[in-house]
Symmetry: C2
Amino acid sequence: MDDEKEFLAHYDASKYERPSVTADIVIFTIDEDNELNVLLIKRGGHPYKDHWAIPGGFLEAGKESIDEAAARELYEETGVKVSDSIDLRQLVTVGSPNRDPRTHVVSVVYTALVPKGLLHIKAGDDAKEAKLFKIRKGYDENGDLSLYFVGDKCSITLKNLAFDHDELIITALKRLRGRLNYTDDAFTLLKDKSRFDILELLRVHEAILFQQLDKSNFRRMFLRDYVGKHRVKELGQYEQEGKRKTTLYKYLGSEYDF
Amino acid sequence: MDDEKEFLAHYDASKYERPSVTADIVIFTIDEDNELNVLLIKRGGHPYKDHWAIPGGFLEAGKESIDEAAARELYEETGVKVSDSIDLRQLVTVGSPNRDPRTHVVSVVYTALVPKGLLHIKAGDDAKEAKLFKIRKGYDENGDLSLYFVGDKCSITLKNLAFDHDELIITALKRLRGRLNYTDDAFTLLKDKSRFDILELLRVHEAILFQQLDKSNFRRMFLRDYVGKHRVKELGQYEQEGKRKTTLYKYLGSEYDF
DNA sequence: TTAATAGTGTCTGTAAGACAATATTGC
DNA sequence: GCAATATTGTCTTACAGACACTATTAA
């Protein structure tokens, strides 16, 4: 064991070439129109100056874990703390030597699901501007099915994004959709998951899938899989303005962790 | 644009503290006894000298992508090339500052599924020894359900592994199981996926799940989901020694990519 | 009274788990 | 013939998609 201590004392960490590491985040939310949104920032510096990108920043080596870096970055951009029952999870790690012209950058990419009410968006260090964009289906110049992003007074196509962020957003969306039926992701996007009705949850699913769902079948699934299994509690009937009264529910918690 | 060129010319990459980055691989295979195995190496140097660990190595910054580093590492340890129709995919990225006592190491962890016939195991640079271990269910000292690893002349418990590799292997196994029903992972573990019968595929599923499956129901699923959808082709009836003849199949390819 | 929203009921095809039965072949 | 393996069949329960219907309330 002294052997090991001695080894560590003489270990020279600068011996190998190291890449930079960043934590980048695809932040999804649902807006007032029940549409799926993504948070983008306008880059203030080179490279890709003035291009839109997903928020992110460098890992402070030796000081924080990569998950902590992502949480810090999320907080700096949106004021949201990970403890606020949002959902921040790893998506993928990318690390081609040339994806950033400055130097070799390995990016650990996260997806965060945040109710819009919690977001207090502010442009961080590198950013000129930060705002939400509606995600819409569309077609690229080849006529292939693609995505574009509609924000206040501007609209961006997928391939105008900085770096490889176009691919990252697509991967994030695919994963979100794939997970929808066997996770509780949709609940974390509700305005208030302690007080919602079935239709609100349905709207979240529809926003993610870009597709209308059958109310009746959704209701049956919800009652069987959530209420029936005590993962959601019925709060009773409540008045709501402008509509007939409805049954509200409270989300209790997840059982899954993979 | 000259602006950007100038910026890059003066960019000083050494400005920020950087972590080291490694690609580590959980390599699974199925042995002659139809049991699930994992490849471990015995560390030859500090830290964790003489402890067993999953293979891995440092990313050569600027020279290769992180996926390439994983492929290189797999090749160095097993002689297997990624083109050999094996399955190498990202599992998770871990990066606590203190998980490696030398310096801050961010590890991008991969899972590889390799038929045993392709493996030509050799101990790489850092390793004294490399070999396959059967993965078995067991109980730890608290009586909790756990895993242990049985190799030629030795047996290892989960928490005797180096670093946080115990958690990584558990995560890999959980993921493998979770993916079993909606991916084609099991096919890549077959001895020969161009020539197999239903029982062989069943044995792979059983090995992964640590659980017996009903032949009849498995067969029905296989015919419906694979043969029926032309993802597997029937080759016809074939003699096999010591048994009655059986129908062989050929795996054609995957449809999924997430 | 109409329109919108909340909620119920039903029909169909398909899938999963349990398990029984038959068929073929080596020994 | 016996044992092992391959293959088929059946019964039950559960779930998904489509769609028609009723109930309540605001305007």
